[in-house]
Symmetry: C2
Subunit: 463 residues, 2 copies
């Protein structure tokens, strides 16, 4: 299939139909009116404004998140903004007969369920310039305005944005949240505007290099090398509305590299699977686990805001991996799965057990800690030495911990792997080793994710 | 025992008796006269001069090496010096009825066996200043003269030198040859002269630090930091007769650190065992080998000059250790034993076998080598991946080589571990693993050395 054929097919799926546009527009209108009525009734001085991909007309068919901001005067105290914002949103939900749920970003907001659509109602400050914002969400109206205006000049780019968003979703790097550490919608819009089309963005990305790629659409800076020095991040895209900000700041090196790799692969062999990954074939999970050295820790966790949870999960994975490495294990890979209530931390190791002996380095010969080390090991516990290697005392000794279960149990009891998860682990956990790792959760989604983590093959990658 | 008591006892053993002095002096005289007669008979214009520890009166009782230099005019061509030097020495041996053996340092010399004593007869140039030397041995007469004069002023230091030499021998760091990489007699003499006694040398060494210790007895340099920058070696002792030279250049960091550690240990608990290590108790070699992960390569080697041989052996140990590490093994320690004809290279590893799977890093995602890597592993051979970690492609794959025998056999067939030993290995070798390592040589000295390498405990170390 040629690139053009693939893109034509994707466009048929991602561009909303007139019918769908009408339906979403009606929901937006109804919600706006409900919010206006609610604020009037409650005597709250606020303006409701549509932001995000719907306002910019860059949303994907069948996959729209509606964002409505409640813009307050900067004179409003922050706690008043929060209280009144939620009050207005909740009252609007009543008016609409819609379900709702409270969520947290930098401050709380409400997600309404209106006729099957998710509508985020976010309180924010209406400021005169992005340089005066009080919280990150206050920047959003400026982003919306910037992209709207730019796309009004080049309306053909809206569908190009849609292609790029679907591509990022397909390869698993869509979203600035900590779980993904990927590309926000706004970032993908800026890239499309900058490079001029989906295809030219992909062609450029195929040549990106981490820590060497800078885009400054509004030419805020004179020297791009200066920008690289200022923002030491894998990908740097200067915010058109705020030169102090790197829009690509949340993008991890791995997400950027996935984007690079997928771009290269797509140009070599275009296929719909970059946009819509095919369902995975069933893997023989038991067989996979038998041939690999895998261990799982299962614990239960309280409901937490998504970003808080994933910040903690990533920290715990890092801390436990480091601890295992320090104990002598080689960690090939780690991963986490959570249902929101259960949490399973997964580690693939070179081996689940360690050799019986280890080489242990002591102090330099000229250190005053030498006596303690020498005495300790002369009295017993050394299989060889103390002897000297380079400038240090060394012994060969028996390991205290041989199995990964022992090592993890010790790490969990002694280690701070991050406030929340340490607390959960202290309350209780189970360790699963080898083929038993499949039983860490009864959730069928867990087994599927476990298998796909073990196979670690991108559906879009072909030879 | 106090330091003074220990040193008194050592002095009784290391200071030659009047009777022994007379015997050695007679041998020296006879040899000198024979050399003079030989040069007269052969019409060679040369002066025979006694150098080394006998000339300086710093030799150890029962342990004297007599050095006699045949000093030629700088006008003599090098090949003439070599030819005539050996001719004179051989003729002198005939006159004395002494056995002899040809050896090599920077050029060939003869070792005569005169009445049970080894006498090295070394041809060299008589130059006016150490700055005009043609080969390193030409410097020796200046060293002899410098130390003789210094000790004539402070004759009491001769026995202090004897103590320090015996100490260095006792802890295994005496000798500048490549096998030892330790302290030459001249270096130990300079240290004694510099610090003023055996005890103050040991006290100073207890505070030495590698790469931070400089001694410049004749104050050739104004700034010792400048000396450290110029000579980037663990220990720096500027030659009094030649400021360009670091007398301690052959001292490895390990030899220096053994000296430091033994000095600290001696000051804490003085004992005769630093000077005369006790015979080791017999170790249960089989049991030792069963509890450790040891492999040996045995090959036969031709007779080579000592320094050439050990240069090659050390290079081979390094190359094979690196090769094993690159194959995934962890090398705890390596060692070599040679009878001069048999050579056994020994390696202690964390484990004699590797886990079945390995993590293998491919090119960065933005590299043009990506296609080859991806295609290769998509077609088979990867247990997981290709996937992306950081900015690189990675796979988990089966290891080709699991056992240390396989790995060593491959290294030996494909690897240059140094000219001579590679040649020997190509002609034939045997690999011994685990308890069988004891059988690599039938030489009883081998089993003793193997055991003491496995135990790796200094006889002088006590808690």
């Amino acid at each position: 299939m040629s690139i053009d054929e693939v893109l034509r097919e994707v466009l048929q799926r991602v561009v909303p139909s007139a019918e769908e546009r009408r339906r979403v527009a009606r929901v937006v209108d109804e919600t706006l009116r409900a919010l206006e009525r609610a604020s009037r009734e409650l005597g709250v001085n606020v303006v409701a404004e549509v932001e995000g991909s719907f306002a910019k007309d860059t949303w994907l068919a069948g996959d729209v998140d509606i964002d409505i901001f409640l813009l307050f005067s900067p004179a409003t105290p922050l706690d008043e903004l929060r209280r009144q914002g939620l009050l207005v949103a909740r009252r609007a939900a009543e008016v609409l007969g819609a379900g709702w749920e409270e969520r947290y970003a930098s401050h709380p907001y409400l997600t309404l369920k209106v006729e099957g659509y998710s509508v985020d109602v976010v309180p924010a400050y209406r400021v005169d310039s992005p340089l005066e914002i009080r919280s990150p969400v206050d920047r959003t109206p400026f982003h919306t305005m910037y992209v709207r205006r730019s796309l009004e000049e080049r309306p053909g780019l809206r569908d190009e944005v849609r292609l790029l968003k679907r591509f990022a979703k397909g390869i698993g790097v869509y979203g600035a949240e900590i779980r993904v550490e990927g590309f926000s919608g706004y970032l993908l819009e800026l890239l499309t505007l900058h490079y001029g089309s989906f295809k030219s963005t992909i062609e450029a990305a195929a040549k990106w290099r981490p820590y060497r790629t800078v885009i400054d659409p509004e030419h805020h800076y004179g020297d791009l090398r200066e920008v690289l020095r200022k923002f030491r991040e894998p990908l740097v895209v200067i915010d058109p509305v705020d030169p102090r900000r790197n829009v690509a700041s949340p993008v991890s090196i791995e997400s950027m590299c996935k984007f690079i790799a997928a771009s290269r692969a797509f140009l070599r062999a275009p296929s719909i699977s970059f946009f819509y990954p095919p369902e995975r074939a069933e893997y023989a999970l038991d067989e996979l686990l038998r041939s690999r050295a895998v261990v799982a820790i299962k614990t239960s966790i309280p409901r937490l805001p998504e970003d808080v949870l994933w910040g903690q999960i990533k920290r715990a994975l890092r801390a436990l991996s480091n601890g295992l490495e320090r104990a002598g294990f080689v960690v090939y890979s780690s991963h986490a799965w959570t249902s929101g209530e259960e949490l399973v931390l997964l580690f693939e190791l070179e081996s689940l057990t360690l050799s019986p002996l280890e080489k242990h380095y002591g102090p330099p010969v000229y250190s005053d800690h030498d006596v303690r080390f020498i005495s300790k090991y002369l009295e017993g516990g050394a299989v060889a030495g103390p002897y000297i290697e380079g400038d240090r005392w060394v012994v060969i000794r028996r390991r205290k911990l041989h199995s990964v279960e022992q090592a993890l149990a010790k790490l969990i009891s002694a280690y701070n792997v991050g406030e929340h998860i340490t607390e959960c682990l202290r309350r209780g956990y189970e360790i699963y080793v080898g083929p038993r790792v499949a039983d860490a959760s009864a959730n069928p989604e867990y087994r599927a994710r476990l298998a796909s983590w073990l196979v670690r093959r991108y559906p879009w990658l072909s030879s």
